[in-house]
Amino acid sequence: MELSTIAQQLVNGIQSGAIYALIAVGYTMVYGILRMINFAHGEVYMVGALVAWLGTSRDWYGVVSHSSTGGLVLLIATAMLVCMTLGVLIERLAYRPLRHAPRLIVLITAIGMSFLLQNLALILFGADPKTVPLTWRTVQLGGISVSLGQLVLLIASLSFMAGLQLLVKRTQFGRAMRAVSEDFQAAALMGVPYDRVIVGTFAIGAALAGAGGAMTAIFVGAPVTPTFGFMPGVKAFVSAVLGGIGNIPGAVLGGLLLGVIEALVGGHPTLSPFRDAIAFCLLIAVLLFRPAGLLGRAVQEKV
């Protein structure tokens, strides 16, 4: 393989990895706080993409015009807002009544929620693929071609994640989050409003996933279907586990790593049909050999 081809594959991988990372951050935050896998997270990503498509599919009295930069920013913000509301709703309706239930029950509920959202989207919008009617100019950097959309997507995702890191490390809410994830009961005793922290975590995670979905629809032009979020959701979960679940920088690293590995495998002539299996093989390997993930620390199970 030529050097420019490898470099191009790396760029391809980093771009899809950035999306995995955006979704994985949501998984990892919720897991850190509630020790549950929010299976419906991939569907939140799908809803974000649907909102982006809805915004561009008709003229909303000229408010969300997709021809201007301001219009696009507004569109992505709308998608984030809608997803944030959805995330909070899911928490309120499905997970909060089960706060004291065994974990398996919560897990089943989350799977049910994932299927519910998928089928709701199917019934409301149908199965036919929906595409945002936008194209992006291509920039040549040496032997590498990058579309303007890809660049914007990459920069936006990285700044979202940087912002999240700041939020977690520097603000009071972030400190509350870290306290809850460190020791739930102690945090509650110290006066941390855990319910608000949980709602906030769901809201932030959902907003990031929504931004990821909207940006995939707008900047990559991926056709949106009801199952749009399923595979990215599962892969983002694998990224979160790969980086060490509960660890935000780990989720980002895991996402980027998975994206790059998939790009390299996908470009290989004989291995390309097995690209989707890579994520699952990685998951099993990580769980067998390094259950704490790349950046996570091993946790002794309390008896």
Partner: protein, 371 residues
């Protein structure tokens, strides 16, 4: 021992007699409504799903391991047994003298079913191994991955017809009731006897508190893997019957939806309750077929068949059950004549409720975090 064999014989005889009766009724068109189509939709398919639900109940309900890969075992059984029949057994059958064809066919079908069951059991062993390290949510994702990998593999194997489906499988199951009913009964009997044996307590102890069970000297690993192997075996045998009844199988027959539907059945019936799985398995499938008979409705400017809403309904059922009745319709109880009688005699005065059961289904005994 003699008694068991006697009852086995009785069961086989009853299945065979019912099979004959149904055949006469369907082909002789005794009733207007009992056609090939309704027989398949309301009798055969529910029987198949009873087998799947009861076998998954062994993994999910009784042992408390959460598997989302049941469709994978189902697929392995179907494909490998079909492969055996198409590539080997058909050739052998052709050499058998005509007079012995019937017997040979019976034997070969039995062999194919055993191969399907054995192959699925082997895969159950392979999947059971990660359970040594994986628990709860991780296991769910890993088994989900297993199911998907199996499907993708069969989608790509030209030997098994790849995406266009594996066709030309000899339809030795024929009418089907006899085999389907026998398998469902076998699966129920094995589950029930296992629960009643000393092993049953060990399985339950793994579900209730794995750490405590380990401390008490229960080889938890052994029982977890055993649950996977036995559950997978019956799913594989069910797959083998499906392949040899329909004559063709497709990768999409084994997609994730099937796993989710079977999980819904187990959850609805009550995790751990065999009769619950039976009722939910048969009930949900029949309900789905009934939905198909309803007329098309128009919503949001598009046309829908009422059966399009079934996955939505399954998902809703799953969530609502978990929130309001996590132990399922029957909980850990079994439906028997005795419980029925008790219910009937108790129904006038609802005050005397039996001691509430603790719905402790968690695989780790650890609850979701709470302050």
């Amino acid at each position: 021992m003699v008694r068991q064999i006697f009852w086995c014989g009785v069961a086989i005889a009853i299945c065979w007699a019912l099979d004959r009766l149904l055949q006469a009724a369907v082909y002789g068109q005794w009733f207007g409504w009992l056609t090939d189509y309704t027989y398949r939709a309301f009798i055969l398919v529910p029987l198949l799903f009873i087998t799947l639900a009861v076998s998954l109940n062994l993994i999910n309900g009784i042992t408390g391991q959460f598997s989302l890969g049941h469709a994978g075992f189902f697929a392995v059984g179907a494909y490998l047994s079909a492969g055996f029949s198409v590539y080997f057994a058909s050739g052998w059958l052709a050499q058998v003298p005509p007079a012995w064809q019937g017997v040979a066919q019976f034997g070969l079908l039995l062999m194919a079913a055993l191969i399907g069951a054995g192959a699925a059991a082997l895969f159950g062993l392979i999947v059971g191994i990660p359970t040594l390290r994986l628990r709860g949510d991780y296991l769910a994702i890993a088994t989900l991955g297993f199911g998907e990998i199996v499907r993708v593999l069969f989608e790509n194997l030209d030997l098994f017809g790849a995406q266009r489906g594996f066709t030309g499988i000899p339809t030795w199951v024929g009418f089907g009731f006899f085999w389907y009913a026998l398998l469902a009964m076998g699966c129920i009997a094995v589950s029930r006897n296992l629960l009643k044996s000393t092993h049953g307590l060990a399985f339950l102890s793994v579900r209730e508190d794995e750490t405590a069970a380990e401390v008490m000297g229960v080889p938890t690993t052994y029982y977890k893997v055993a649950a996977f192997v036995i559950g997978a075996m019956f799913a594989g045998a069910a797959g083998a019957l499906l392949a040899h009844r329909e004559g063709s199988i497709y990768p999409v027959d084994f997609k994730l939806d099937i796993s989710i539907v079977v999980v819904t059945m187990v959850v609805l019936g009550g995790q751990g309750s065999i009769t619950g799985s039976v009722l939910a398995g048969a009930g949900l499938k029949m309900l789905e077929e009934l939905l198909r008979l309803l007329p098309v409705v128009t919503l949001f400017g598009r046309e829908f068949q009422p059966s399009d809403f079934r996955m939505l309904a399954f998902a809703l059922v799953l969530i609502l059950m978990m929130i309001f009745r996590p132990q399922g319709l029957l909980g850990h109880r079994e439906l028997s004549w005795a419980t029925l009688r008790r219910w009937l005699s108790r129904s006038p005065k609802r005050a005397s409720v039996p001691p509430a059961e603790t719905p402790s289904l968690s695989s780790e005994g650890e609850q979701m975090r709470q302050p």
